[in-house]
Amino acid sequence: MPRRRLRSLGRIAIAFALALSATTALAGVGVYLALLDAIDHQVDLRLQGEARELLEGGAGVPEIVRRIARESSERESADIGFLLRDSLGERIAGNIAPAHPLPIGVSTVTDDAAIPGLSRGRAWVKQLPGGETLALVAESEPIDQHDHKRGRILAIGFGAVMTLLLIGTFALIRAIRINIAAIGGTAEAIIDGDLRARVPVERPGSVFGALAVTFNRMLDRIGELMTGMRSISNDIAHDLRTPLARLHGRLAALADMPEAAPVREELADAVAESEEILAIFAAILRITEIEGGERRAGFERLDLAALAADVAEGLALLVTESGRTFVAPAPAVAVPVEGDPRLLTQLIVNLIENAVTHTPVGTTIRLDVRRDGDRALLSVADDGPGIAPAERDRALRRFGRLDASRHTRGHGLGLPLALAIARLHHGTLALEDAEPGLRVALRLALAG
């Protein structure tokens, strides 16, 4: 999930860069065209003004020729090209010789006209009353070789902007990635049970720093709540277990008195019940301890197959004497895992005890440990009534005893405790169909 999110971040950046380039290019073209248009307009106005001066007062051809000569030498209008032709197209006066005739009216002149020093310009052409044509041409390029130079300027500028933009975008993505990874890593650690994990805060003033600070404050709050809950269980343990223990002690002492003979059985039941309540406390505290994650400090490399064989040895008699068949093959290959041997022992004991408690006499219980790909698979299967798929989740929940087992022994915390131990080991505990019966499968990573 986080990796996909990070990849989409890259996609967003690329899309953003593409959209930005397109917008920049469009804007560049627009500005360029508008600029040319504005210059053309400016040049047209100038040519019209110049023409008005040439033709002022209804000047005849000789006067126009004289005025052309004057204007050509004046600094203000020296850059304008003039051409006066007679009705047959013969040149009368002027300082340009376009390669092709220029159309009447205003038009754009390009290289094709072969006018020296002009690659783009505007022409203003008018037919005079005597049939002569007067043409005025002026450059409309702001500078020489404008398009070429402008292209280069644009390319350099655009390239610089894009480079900067890409560097910026990737720096931003990197920063986001690092910060998301830091938050994600912390969240994973919390999920794993390390409630003290916090996001490192490098610059509290930055956006990410502020986010990390907020995230950490949230974790602090969760931690406080968890500590509160834990101290409640500890308080319950301390404040309720002690009086319960006294009660239990008094009941036991009472049962031992000679005067108690008539009610001895009742008293024994009461003692047994108080013991069960105390066992529930013990199991709750055990689960709380395991979920805290501190037990990982005691992990060691061990052979799950050998461990299971030891447990099987210790429990075989219990299963067979209860009228059930126990099948636990001797381990063939080592199944190395990292774990807490005492807790894994408790897990296996719980699963076997669970199978004994919740199946009818005559059931066969199978313990099996094997390698399953890159995982270790330990399973305890029975051919008893099993658990319906819809009820399996509940069976793993604390106090989620199923109705069918409500009247059997045990406090209903065996499977939740096994689940907590599996999770502590980064493993899974699944209730599966053994066809018929129930199979509880523990899957752990094989130790390398």
Partner: protein, 235 residues
């Protein structure tokens, strides 16, 4: 419940360090009832002072004490060279606590609530271990039963008896402590190595089997059931 080989409790002085006044009073009454001489203090500082003045045979030390914590009291008295056996009392029984307590020099550890007989069995066990440490593991004998753990061999009245591994470990434990009561919890810890209490009657099932295996015509049952506590091998 006591074996003939154990010294009379009257000669044994126990220091109880417990801040819960009611529990402390109950403990003192129950231990006195068993014949021990009991002195009780309610905090760690008083415990250290008392230990500086008088000799005790065993100390029951609550883990959660005001002012100085139980484990800290233990560290200090061990540092001062007090060798008296210490049994830590704890409300929670978390593994981490247990390990910490044993590392600080506790001889045993008992989780509240406990029955007085369970406590008595454990007091007896730590005293025995102090007086006769490192019993020979190779061959254990009590009455007419001999257990050779290393060679996995058991005889009763000279006749060999076939036992499963767990049954043999259980018998060895009972024979080693013959004449003393071993509680079910103690057996679970020592024979099965569990640091939790199973929900099934695993100890009783094995004892029953052991009795069947050891049964011989004309010979008495060598294992005595101590109601509400556990079992004892008759010495």
């Amino acid at each position: 419940m006591q074996s003939p080989s154990d010294p009379s409790p009257a000669a044994l002085r126990i220091l109880v360090v417990e801040d819960d006044a009611q529990l402390s009073a109950l403990l003192a009454r129950q231990l006195s009832g068993l014949g021990y001489t009991v002195e009780a203090v309610s905090d760690g500082r008083a415990a250290i002072t008392t230990l500086g003045k008088a000799q005790f045979d065993a100390i029951l030390l609550d883990r959660l004490l005001p002012a100085i914590e139980g484990v800290e009291v233990l560290r200090r008295i061990r540092a001062e060279g007090v060798e008296t056996p210490v049994i830590l009392l704890t409300a929670l029984g978390l593994t981490q606590e247990r390990v910490e307590g044993l590392e600080a020099g506790a001889d045993d550890y008992i989780v509240k609530p406990f029955e007085i007989d369970e406590l008595n069995a454990r007091i007896r066990a730590v005293l025995r271990r102090r007086s006769a440490p490192a019993a020979d593991n190779a061959t254990l004998t009590a009455g007419d039963v001999t257990v050779s753990v290393l060679r996995h061999r058991v005889t009763r009245a000279g006749k060999p008896i076939e036992l499963q591994k767990t049954e043999l470990k259980l018998l060895a434990e009972l024979v080693r402590e013959a004449g003393s009561v071993l509680s079910r919890k103690m057996l679970i810890e020592r024979v099965w190595g569990y640091d939790f209490v199973p929900t099934t009657n695993i100890v009783d099932v094995h004892i029953l089997k052991l009795r069947q295996r050891l049964e011989m015509p004309g010979l008495p049952d060598p294992i005595a059931t101590v109601r509400g506590v556990g079992y004892m091998f008759r010495a």
